[in-house]
Symmetry: C2
Subunit: 246 residues, 2 copies
């Protein structure tokens, strides 16, 4: 290992950076060698090497070259602020990526359980997911996914079967004009309430979002999911659930 000044290749070998990167840093004014030979070859002196090490450190933290330059040239906010801003950006990105992962997993699940899907059907399913997703905050979606994981595949299926059993019964009761406070309807209301609580984890905000979703997008969901409560059914069963409390 020679003494400085070093030529660009030597510096590259000794620091693990690429020659091209060093050229780039020179181009953008982040690290210009303090010397050149008569022929124009770059010569990096000891201060340049120190600066390069600092650049390297900041790069390891994911700081952009632009910010790095501002920091090293003393024309930036405090390091602390740079770090905080960077953390904020990272958190934002990670939130978006988590959202994507959630969607993709749900889609993969769908591909696993349902029959083979054509591309158009797949795309329709995606649109459907988005329609549903927009009613919930990312945090709520997170909570719901955690619940799905902790509850397990099997329980999920039985819950779905329960819904498929209860919903037609409620519809029938309503259409027959049965009194919401009658014992049969109250029994349905009790089961309904349990299922809702199981799904929402007892979070009323989630329950509310679900209701809004069915109210606003009922027809579309009906078409997609097949068996779905209507606004009127919500009102009906809510009356019954109210009656349960007293």
């Amino acid at each position: 290992m020679k003494e400085p000044p070093w030529k660009v290749g030597e510096l590259a070998r000794n620091t693990g950076m690429s020659v091209r990167a060093l050229h780039h840093y020179d181009e953008i004014g982040l690290l210009r060698p303090s010397l050149r030979t008569a022929a124009g070859h770059r010569l990096y002196g000891r201060p340049d090497i120190e600066r390069l090490q600092q650049i390297h450190s900041l790069r390891l933290m994911g700081i952009s070259l632009e910010e790095t330059k501002r920091l090293l040239d003393g024309a930036a906010a405090s390091p602390r602020q740079v770090i905080d801003m960077h953390l904020a950006r990272l958190h934002e990105q990670m939130a978006m990526q988590k959202q994507l992962v959630r969607r993709l997993k749900a889609l993969a699940d769908h591909l696993d359980t349902a029959k083979p899907l054509s591309l158009e059907e797949l795309c329709k399913t995606i649109e459907e997911m988005m329609r549903v997703e927009k009613y919930f905050t990312p945090e709520q979606l997170d909570v719901m996914e955690q619940r799905r994981i902790s509850v397990g595949e099997e329980r999920m299926r039985t819950v779905r079967d329960d819904w498929n059993e209860i919903i037609p019964k409620v519809r029938a009761a309503m259409e027959n004009g049965a009194d919401p406070t009658s014992p049969e309807v109250l029994a349905l209301a009790r089961r309904w309430k349990v299922l809702v609580e199981e799904f929402t984890g007892g979070d009323p905000a989630i329950a509310n979002a679900v209701k809004t979703m069915y109210n606003d997008d009922g027809p579309a969901l009906q078409e997609k999911l097949g068996n779905v409560p209507t606004k009127e059914m919500f009102a009906y069963i809510c009356k019954s659930i109210e009656a349960l409390k007293s």
Copy 2:
């Protein structure tokens, strides 16, 4: 809302995409309008609109335009494979981002607790963190961070104080040639063991990594952290801990 065919602006308004994006899709051959007016204005027909909706769906999943094109043109792997690959990429990225977040948080912590740092010192600290980090797998670092969070700030400080008390004592005992099986050293070994277990969460792999770290980078760490066990001290106290077991 007119009937198709639509011009770009109308299509853009009705789909929420930007005109420029539609131009771009045309440029790269992802969505070329099936008609043009004599003057060259793009006219999108009904099949184009369907294709655009599919593009939109896939974009919502974060699929690249390139993959989208391959998928829609039927020249790609199965949707399932595309999803899986995409998930894998996302996980990789998120792992890297988590790593960055960990580093930045540690750095912010350092800035909070220690005295105000110059930029050079900050960079040295970063290099130091990297030196330490390389001894652990990302999973181990994760575990350690979780422990730090669950243990809490206060306990961390008392643990550090404990180390600062014990290490000199062990050094002194060793330099005085005290028998590792003597009662005083055994008492030290007991405390040492507890502290190690607290820090590692009982994971011997982590304990091992720590030992390797001090063995390999002892001098550098000594300089940075000030008060650090040597290889010999490890050997000495290990003998004593062995003696504890019997």
